[in-house]
Amino acid sequence: MKILKIITDFILQLNWIKRILYLFLTVIFIFLLSVSVSPLHKMNEYEYLVTSDSLFLSKFDSVLSHPELSSFMKENTKVGALVKLASNDSIQLSVNLKDSSVCLNIKGVKIHESKIRQFESDKLLKKMPVIQYVKLFSEPVGVVSQFATIVKEPVVVRQAPKDTAEAALTAWKPDTLVQNPAFLLLELDYGIRIIFEQDASESSRENWVKHRFYGRIWSEKSIKALGRFFTLKKQEYYPTIKISLPVDELRAIYRALPANAQVALSF
């Protein structure tokens, strides 16, 4: 009560400009607070995924959660997910942070392997309990959306020439020297995000594309967060893995992935 009185007195002594300012700051504070606790919602969501699946729980022996068995369980989960990924007809992705490798597979055959130069993994994923890890990653994770700074298919539209003279004039010369800097965002199921970025961003154009890419991700995230705040919904948290790859390999991976891609994720 005393605190309330102090606050009321404090507010009453302010002029209306300062009252609005303090109100605005309070709203910002509540908004930032709601965003800062969003990882808790994600943890609860993952926890619920496990506890709501009684079949999975009944099959999962509690001994398997023992810390000594965690590396064995993770390896088993990884191989199991790769076997399940092999049942898919199209090209699929496997990301293995332990081996620092990103691979493309078709029907279980590894057709491309890129070595990860650098990566950053989310703390929430790193500290995930084994039971949640097995539940989430024992099957390939679906890609919900893909966004990149390069085009999937670099289509060049060409009008057919009317005669041989025009054909000789408009003869097409191959030119692959002009390439856009490559940055890729894969949004997976369970709200997980994988950001692939080219390992070297030295030119001003590359840096500009990089800032625009991250700017777009940040602005979309902020708009969503504000929308959720004003509609009194829980804030979303996106556990993010950031991977650095050579630019040519990143292009090959993005162009090979089909629209309904799946990822076998292990870390």
Partner: protein, 249 residues
Amino acid sequence: MQNLKFEFVNKAYAQSSLCVKSSFDFFTKISHKIYDFFRKNVYLILIFLLILLIPLMIRSLIMQIGTPKDMTIIANQDEILAAQNKISKETKSLEKKLIAKTPKSYYLVINSASNEFTLYKGFNIIKTDKCSTGSYILLKNDAQQEWMFKTPKGEFRILGKTTYPVWRKPDWAFIEEGLPVPSSFHHSRYEAGVLGDYALSLGDGYLIHGTLYQRFLGLPVTHGCIRLNDENLELVYTSLSIGSKVYIY
């Protein structure tokens, strides 16, 4: 004359020192105003900093101690060892399943983004070199017809092998050159020598063949087929048999 010069220099000096002084005064005034603002609104600034810092601290606290831990499992060493053996056995059997999916014999992998091919035998690389794949040109004509020159992606099999193949030119080959399209079996449709000494069919008209334009190898220039140089074509032709797998990505 010398007096005039001296007067001019003196004036310029006086003007520049005045300018420096006025700008110095301006910055002093501004800094005083900022200082006054901070002094008067010290609570407001503190509150603003707290508004930013408290959520950050809460977030880092959640990430440090809020993440769920594995349950404390009370198990004796025998139980753990038995579970470990069981998991290892299961993992090995899954790995065997996965390894079995890779062809034991020769197969070809084509990277259409970098225009490179790799010939494998099981898990061993036999040869990696340049090739040419689809140009991604979308050819349109006035009759609203369209042709997309891209190499399909996925798993394919060698469906046929030919030596000294003769190219039967499709309609787009004439349209692209501004020539009238001849009848289906017109002699102008048949051209020998342009596909190299060998051709391997992937189905739907897509071939692995040779090229006269070796300087374009490593570039996306084809109409969807895969072009190799003569030496690589011979190696691929002799290594792959009908039914061998070709993976394109």
